[in-house]
Symmetry: C2
Subunit: 581 residues, 2 copies
């Protein structure tokens, strides 16, 4: 990974001492990665995971705002394609580098190398992950952290930094999981076996068994460093920035630290108006920075608990140790681990979510929108299986990536153009009951967006197939941040009462937003980044079951697309026949 | 699969009654297949297998000599490419349809469709299987049976026909198996859990427990038809043609039928001089037809046993029932299942193998060869792992299929041409000991063959990495049948004594041939079929570990290659830049 990383390491060490003076000439950061299946023991049970350069999670990328990242990715899997999505990076001008198979590029074939090149234009806490099949759930992810540009300052002060990439982990392989989810009759994959912190967890034992009825104490010293307990070393009376991100397959999470408050300062790479909380929700796809001051009894260590929200938690919480130095890291905290809120305490979740507002200085949204797209989220049946669908179409992806086929205008020369997806649904739909007609169909779910248009999207939740069930869904938009204008209960009507609920003054900018059970969420963004962008539920099995749409945004304005990413399907034929990307 | 199959079914029913009169207009047989991972219970344990049209094994293709087979193959796997090799079909004029990933074509990407089109020019017992990664071992295989052309007769008589496709089955997924075999340190995958007959077996129980010490009796009635015991219905005093083929991943097999002799009449789609045996060896890649006369006590049924040869068998034998009608199929045979020969009774194996001679009328080999290629088979170490290598190079396949890259002459425009592989090895090599220097390197192992040349290949066996171990390897050649000239013990010297061992009078034509421990095997073929052809050990883990070479045969004479099979790697770039296949 060469010299740039050394430079980064140097800057990271000096981060809060001398950042503005840290000499750093290189603005292009080069990484050489090889993707392969490896044996690993994320929770002390050995399984096959997708590793990068032989490790799990993948290496952390650290850069400064404005830098260009080059990742030369070799696929060393035996029979599987691969792509990597840079979650939260808007890919301004580089939509081909967004890393969504069948949308922004062809999956990279085994033995092939593809180079991602993109600018990290904005400081913040990001991550990257596979975006083909369910490869994220196989462990293909890592952190991407962008510091402020040389000479600039974060708008808050801290003495040190800790990074926590949160995930969940299934013992069943993703191949089996994908077969289950596509089975007729449908087979649900169940809850993950473990929660992981920085790729490490403990299965079938607890680090705090004394406080956990029925649990076995994990071995005092880790037998395997791959599943060693995570220790966060801190000094007393300092302020730390905790970078938190969730790349879970299924679980919504909550993180709490015994006796410590957390001050939220960043969400999805955007500064927010600081506010203090006892615990913090993280849905899959979310990232946050929180400040923590080590103002508690320094003779003790403290538990960090990560627990499940939104689903009856069959997965035990993950624990880490906040280690007040010079206490031994192995010194067990005297207090019990904090208990995260009850899984179904939605009032708590909403209270947290509604408190997130943009920091002063964040650009406000345009006052009005040019278009409103209303997306009804339903669970449905199809051909004997179960799907999620949007406005009654369950998303299926094509063999030829949209970015290539739309840019080449292949629909004009034989390839079927994706039918326009509907901007709304019947407002007579009974959101509180299982679908009266549960059958759905497959669809491309493509929305063409005009360049520069201000687009509102209303995500409308509903009842699933079972009575009295409505799930939380975190929706993630590629290529953009959006303003979160507001949330409501029941059906969105767009009337004065609904409009009154919206925040047009200081709505936070995000790339991921949640819809609560039986509720709606309204977002706004400006279609100023030509490309083809996925917008989907970030829960891996839900996306696999069709819960997403595609925004084809001013594709005629997309600049040159490297043909290396379009060597599949109809794009290749078109290129061979003289087409130009 | 449409009308042609109906016609085939009709002809099959009438096969020995009225074959010459069975009206069959269609000579092009069209099949539409979809490949996907499915749940299946080959040995009553449910696993994920690769199925075709939702079934395992794949559908049997039945055709007549001279017919053209069209298989429109859709890859419905989620993230994996796929190809299918038509084992034993020479693909005269259609080398692009041979179905070897990275050699004859690009793997077909998910959601893509590729159409194989080829002539089955010769009657015989064949099969098809995956040829990418270890997908054959995941269950991607089926039978391909070619009857004589309309109006022609087989050179032997029979009253009915039974088809037995033999395989072995691992409970560990091929993804895990591939990681194991590529691990450093190396991890061996062990022996298969079960042997399967027509895709069905019994794990952890025996159908003949009364005769099997320590075994549990399998349920009398199959709980799951996917692993129901195979019953072969016959009438007394008839002669049946048993079509046998082995597509095992690892196991060498022997088949015996209680109280019945078998008369061998066909091997690998070539007629042989008939001879009677009590049992028959089948190495992976072999196919045979044997005649069986139902001349035993008709009040009884009889066991068919399939046991392991060549390795200490940790896998219990598979059993089927030869059901003399009108006895009930469920009537257990009164005799114990026949015991197949001891795994290490090589004298028995050799005696059988050496008896195979061509039927009169089979074309004889040219009297002399233009070139002799000697291939030393060794087990080696590489970068902390274990490999098999040929003349000290372990085969690795490229990202761009050879058929495309060589035909386009890409080596002249940037793509590295494969270095010529050596035609021989040091004859001072100590075949009886582990390699003195066990280290090997990776190589393309490509041999360019001149058009029309008569080529001899000597396959030389040696000691593996462990002392006193030399394994059996069945080598399979694509694109050709070859004459099996002879076998010898120890090192081949090519002297008068070795030459005296050869059979130039009536050597059998085969596509698969075995090398015995510490021995050599010599074959001859004429390079009259332009294409790029794999030649490799048919043991799936051995091939994965590099045990193979590639014959690039008069590629300048290859006719048009459909570009649909070359949409990957450097071939695509070349096509985009104006290259023509």
């Amino acid at each position: 990974m060469g010299l740039p990383l050394l430079a980064v390491a140097c800057c990271a060490l000096l981060a809060f001492v001398a950042r503005p003076h840290c000499a750093e000439a290189a603005k292009a950061r080069h990484f050489k990665w090889e993707i392969s299946n490896i044996f690993w023991s994320p929770d002390c049970e050995e399984k096959v995971v997708i590793g990068i350069n032989g490790q799990f999670p993948g290496p952390t990328i650290r850069a400064r705002a404005g830098d260009t990242i080059h990742v030369e990715l070799k696929n060393a899997l035996h029979t599987e394609g691969v792509v990597i999505h840079w979650h939260g990076i808007r890919q301004i001008g580089t939509p081909w580098a967004d890393g969504t198979a069948a949308i922004s590029q062809c999956a990279i074939n085994p033995e092939e190398t593809f180079t991602y090149r993109f600018v990290v234009d904005k400081p913040g806490t990001y991550f990257y992950h596979g975006h083909y099949g369910m490869q994220r759930a196989a462990g293909l992810y890592g952190s991407l952290i962008v510091d402020v540009a040389e000479g600039e300052e974060e708008p808050f002060k801290y003495d040190g930094e800790l990074n926590l990439l949160l995930s969940d982990w299934y013992h069943e392989s993703i191949h089996t999981q994908m077969v289950m989810l596509s089975s007729k009759p449908f087979r649900w994959i169940g809850e993950p076996q473990s929660l992981l912190i920085n790729g490490r967890g403990q299965y079938n034992c607890s680090m705090a068994a004394a406080h956990t009825p029925g649990a076995t104490q994990c071995p005092a010293t880790a037998v395997n460093r791959q599943c060693a307990p995570v220790v966060l070393p801190v000094l007393p009376n300092k302020t730390y920035r905790l970078r938190l991100a969730s790349t879970t397959s299924l679980a919504s999470l909550n993180l709490a630290i015994g006796n410590h408050k957390l001050t939220v300062v960043e969400a999805d790479g955007n500064y927010v108006d600081p506010f203090a909380v006892d615990d913090i929700d993280l849905y899959s796809g979310d990232s946050y920075s929180v400040l923590l001051t080590t103002d508690q009894d320094p003779s003790s260590n403290y538990w960090v608990t990560v627990g499940v929200r939104g689903r009856l938690p069959k997965t035990p919480p993950a624990l880490a140790v906040l280690n007040y130095r010079p206490n031994a890291a192995s010194k067990l905290p005297s207090l019990a681990p904090p208990v995260t809120p009850a899984w179904d305490d939605y009032a708590h979740s909403k209270a947290f979510t509604y408190r997130i507002r943009a920091r002063a200085g964040t650009p406000p949204p345009p006052a009005t929108a040019d278009r409103r797209i209303e997306l009804l989220n339903t669970q449905n049946k199809m051909d004997g299986g179960i799907k999620w669908s949007i406005n009654n179409a369950s998303m299926v992806l094509p063999a030829t990536p949209y970015l290539g086929s739309l840019k080449l205008g292949l629909n004009k020369s034989g390839l079927a153009a994706p039918a326009p997806a509907p901007d709304t649904f019947s407002h007579g739909y009974d959101l509180r009951s299982p679908p009266a007609n549960p059958n759905t169909t497959a669809g491309p779910n493509v929305y063409a967006l005009a360049h520069g248009a201000t687009v509102d999207v209303v995500l409308q939740n509903a009842n699933a197939l079972a009575a009295n069930v409505s799930e939380v869904h975190p929706w993630h938009l590629h290529g953009h941040d959006f303003w979160v204008l507001g949330y409501g209960e029941g059906g969105y009507r767009g009337d004065a009462a609904d409009e009154a609920r919206l925040n047009l003054r200081d709505p936070p900018l995000r790339n991921t937003v949640v819809i609560f059970p039986y509720g709606w969420t309204k977002i706004r963004f400006v279609a100023d980044n030509p490309g083809v962008w996925a917008f989907h539920c970030h829960i891996e099995p839900h996306l696999h079951m069709g819960m997403g749409v595609v925004f084809a945004e001013a594709v005629d304005r997309v600049g040159e697309v490297p043909k290396e990413g379009m060597m599949c399907g109809a794009t290749t034929s078109a290129l061979i026949n003289g087409g130009h990307l």
